[in-house]
Symmetry: C2
Subunit: 133 residues, 2 copies
DNA sequence: TCTGCAAATGCAACAATGTTGCAAAAGAAT
DNA sequence: ATTCTTTTGCAACATTGTTGCATTTGCAGA
């Protein structure tokens, strides 16, 4: 799947900002922050354009957002494996690497009477394979 | 447990802001935001004072922070039931009520080779008992 | 109860992150 | 190539959180 195809598939205009962002997402195994994208992106874009591109790609469901506490916001491609209602992410507290974790196990947590669950976000914090002590 | 006792127990000065905040936390079954505290608190305090009080109470481990995406930050009392390494919270997407969920089940997720887990935060989104459809 | 010191507060300024309105530019269909 | 719609860049603004510093407060010891 190419950036161009992804955009066409979702009937989005093929602009250099969107295409560049998607190419980086496709090439990365980890989630990326706004700053990481900006550093790696050849063209220079306004912050507003970045935010609006994120919103467009989020709305289309091409990428999803991962918020770690208040510190950091990252984005990653939505893959078929990414479950609709159960997201698991890993955050390395040393290097801030953020990854989507694939899990086949359905996690069930008992909610109080009258509460209804739509989705579940799981954030695991720890150290990644490069930062292990 | 009273607000006064909590502060003394942690060797923190008993200021009216801290004591007022803790009284609200002790009286509430749900997590509270900065604004909710401010509205309910009798005295009027500077925003800086609020933030610094949060930091003090967080550092002491008396309260803990719950961040829902980027939208909202809430705080709740840390109870003995609140596990050190596994936190489960519920967020109602309609009324924004946020609750700590007690769970006895230890959740295990397989991480990639070389990854090490320190803690796990689980955020369940849905509708609460007042907002069920 | 008074005194002195360390800690907490309020204020101002600042930083980071995200949003909105609007004119100019670019994409895509004809 | 022309036209129309969408996207972009800019400026301004909003929200959230932090920092430095002078003033005030809490509290321990006399």
């Amino acid at each position: 799947m190419t950036a161009k195809q992804l955009l066409q598939q979702h009937k989005l205009k093929r602009t250099s900002c969107r295409e560049g962002m998607l190419e980086l997402f496709l090439a990365s195994k980890e989630a990326l922050s706004e700053n990481e994208l900006r550093e790696q992106l050849s063209g220079s874009y306004d912050r507003t354009t970045f935010y609006r591109s994120f919103i467009t790609l989020l709305d289309a469901g091409i990428i999803h957002k991962i918020v770690v506490d208040n510190i950091l916001t990252k984005y990653a491609l939505t893959t078929p494996m990414t479950r609709e209602h159960q997201h698991v992410h890993f955050f390395c507290t040393h290097c801030e690497t953020t990854k989507c974790i694939q899990t086949d196990v359905e996690i069930t947590i008992q909610l109080p009477e009258g509460f209804h669950q739509d989705s579940m976000d799981i954030l695991i914090k720890g150290s990644c394979n490069h930062c292990k002590q």
